[in-house]
Symmetry: C2
Subunit: 394 residues, 2 copies
């Protein structure tokens, strides 16, 4: 229906946006750790934040502004500026006071990711940020600077053309190895666009799409203090197609959510859990998330073990309406249990092995009581997860 | 207040109870896999079952009886008789039909633990059970026959004497390496007693104590299809002291719950999470269970990493009333965060290491908003968990 043309340069794929990533000395070995996204006009900003009540300082700082217009986001990795009390927010103000001497910043925003409970090294950040060249357009360098334990940077950009020939652009970068990193170091996502829609409309679409993308993805079931998605919209295009924007945002955010899961710590497989036939969509969501968060399922899939009993266990345990006699479980198109009847046999074991050894596969669960459906994204859990998370700080 | 004298022989420590465990050929290498608990008089039975809706056949069979009087429980390991449809219940009836030809069974009960979705080998079970000698009193053999991945068997027994000189006995065995085993293979607990209290009173005490013992313990946050606690009470003592019984049951069930966590798959540490100062007891329970189930906390403790940020994250994420500025976190008596203020420093790192390297330690979290409190029991998560659960069926 809409034409999607992939573009290079992530958040800088949209005209009027600039970005870069540099080394401020927060990470070791001169690695990039400080990024900016700058717009040559003041943008509408739409945002979603973590539901964690121990809100990190940059989120307190941004939320205090209410509905936001801004032309600048500063992002650091290696330090989350969380559990840092009132000083955490004052540190952000101090950084921006210094930057405002040099740069034409309007209501600047900050995002941080890294270790909790340590105050920001404001001197280092200010000194490095003062070297920014706001005319740089290096979306890839920015995406690298926001990484923590990410094995790869995560970017995507499209030009979207509607049937009436109007077009707009959307570009994005995200970080997160799992929905949450060691030391709760967050998922962050920054999206630029020039869709010609008012802030309230963009915010509404963001809220809706967030539920089926980032909020449907899970690596370990924990929720960080810093999770943030920002959309900066300069409204420079003439396209006012809300439907096209929703489809574009869904593509962008679902892609990035799956990339995060694929990069999940210790993960070797991306697993899509399609739950259908629940009493309603909410119950389908509960079941899908229960499946994607179950340690026993994650470890079984790590071992490529078609242990469907764990699927039945997780559905039965999650509190939704369900019955043994209506439950159907399939790995892709291989039906293991049909309305409670166990079809699993030795021949099927080999078929399952062919599915479970893939990098990505789908688990289809029909609860058999209604029309509710939800899709969640999860990964397996292997030794590497334990190694990364047991040894993170040391 | 009450005198507790430890006794040998687990469920057989109470006069009138008999038990044994034998090899029926369900496990390999002639290992014990079939047990009975028999009473020479018909007992009141109190019971709690899993909240999982995919209720295993033996639980359906027992629940169909309503309030139970029985003199016999048959227990097999290696097969859970779960997700086995109507045949699962019929298989139990068939087994007892055969046993009733030889033994004076009154309303016999069955418990099963092991792999899901496989029908019981009824022939093997009947043939082996027909060799039972109901006059055998080997509580230890019975406790070994109900093990699956348990590294050790779990038993306890006391004679309890009240201040007025009356006494009663209580004996117990449990299985479970974690609240749930690979393939959801269950925690099971069997308790015998001769307390002279009516069934409704024993049931009420069981319900109450279960909440702060087995339901406060967690290895991996999953809930099996087979979890069961049975208390068989022959009422032969003259002791009618409800308070003494509650204290005895609390001791017995808390001990066994902690033993299960200590035996958690891949666990090297037993961690007690004392949450105080929550808005109410329910919110304290939510926080304590959130802490004990957090993968990030479990892996940090596995690495003996005093990463208190993960504690703050978990409290903030669990949905209860809490504030950064009122949160206090201590490992035993080492206060790391005092009302939101970070006291952690390099010297404290060494103190923490002395706590975290222990086999068992306490984490004390004061939410700082009210009087609610709850204690949960958890373990760390190490490589061995992944190894056991990724390779269980194969």
């Amino acid at each position: 229906m809409f034409k999607f043309t992939p573009l290079e340069n992530a958040v800088c794929a949209v005209e009027g946006f600039y970005a870069n990533g540099i080394a401020a000395g927060l990470k070791k070995n001169n690695a990039k750790d400080l990024a900016f996204v700058y717009s040559d006009t003041v943008c509408d900003v739409a945002a979603v934040y973590t539901s964690n009540k121990m809100l990190a300082a940059p989120l307190q700082h941004a939320k205090a502004k209410g509905t936001i217009q801004s032309n600048f986001i500063l992002i650091n990795s290696k330090n989350a500026n969380a559990m840092t009390g009132t000083r955490g927010v004052k540190d952000i103000d101090a950084i921006f006071s210094s930057l405002l001497m040099k740069f034409p910043l309007v209501s600047p925003l900050m995002s941080s990711t890294g270790v909790i409970g340590v105050h920001l090294p404001t001197e280092k950040i200010i000194n490095a940020a003062l070297t920014f060249d706001l005319s740089t357009r290096d979306g890839v360098a920015a995406s690298q600077a926001i990484m923590t334990t990410d094995a790869f940077s995560k970017t995507i950009a499209y030009e979207v053309t509607t049937t009436s020939g109007e077009s707009f652009r959307i570009g994005a970068m995200a970080k997160g190895a799992g929905m949450i990193n060691p030391a709760m170091a967050t998922m962050l996502c920054f999206i630029t666009t020039d869709i010609n829609l008012p802030q309230v409309m963009v915010q509404a679409v963001l809220d809706k799409v967030n539920k089926v993308s980032f909020n449907a993805a899970s690596v370990d079931g924990d929720t960080s203090t810093n999770d943030t998605v920002f959309i900066m919209n300069n409204k420079k295009s003439n396209c006012e197609d809300t439907e096209a924007f929703e489809e574009a945002l869904t593509r962008v955010m679902t892609f990035l959510a799956k990339e995060m899961v694929r990069d999940g710590e210790g993960a070797t497989k991306l697993i899509t859990y399609n739950v259908t036939g629940a009493a309603n969509d909410k119950e389908a969501e509960i079941a899908a998330k229960s499946l994607s968060n179950s340690l026993l399922i994650k470890t079984a899939f790590n071992g490529e073990d078609p242990n469907w009993g764990r699927i039945a266990m997780s559905v039965g345990a999650c509190g939704i309406e369900c019955h043994e006699s209506t439950l159907t479980i399939a790995y892709e198109d291989i039906v293991l249990v049909n309305k409670g009847e166990n079809l699993f046999n030795d021949a099927m074991e080999k078929e399952c092995a062919r599915v479970l050894c893939k990098d990505a596969f789908e688990v289809n669960v029909d609860i058999g009581v209604g029309e509710g459906k939800f899709t969640a994204y999860g990964c397996d859990l292997g030794h590497e997860y334990v190694t990364i998370n047991a040894d993170y700080r040391t």
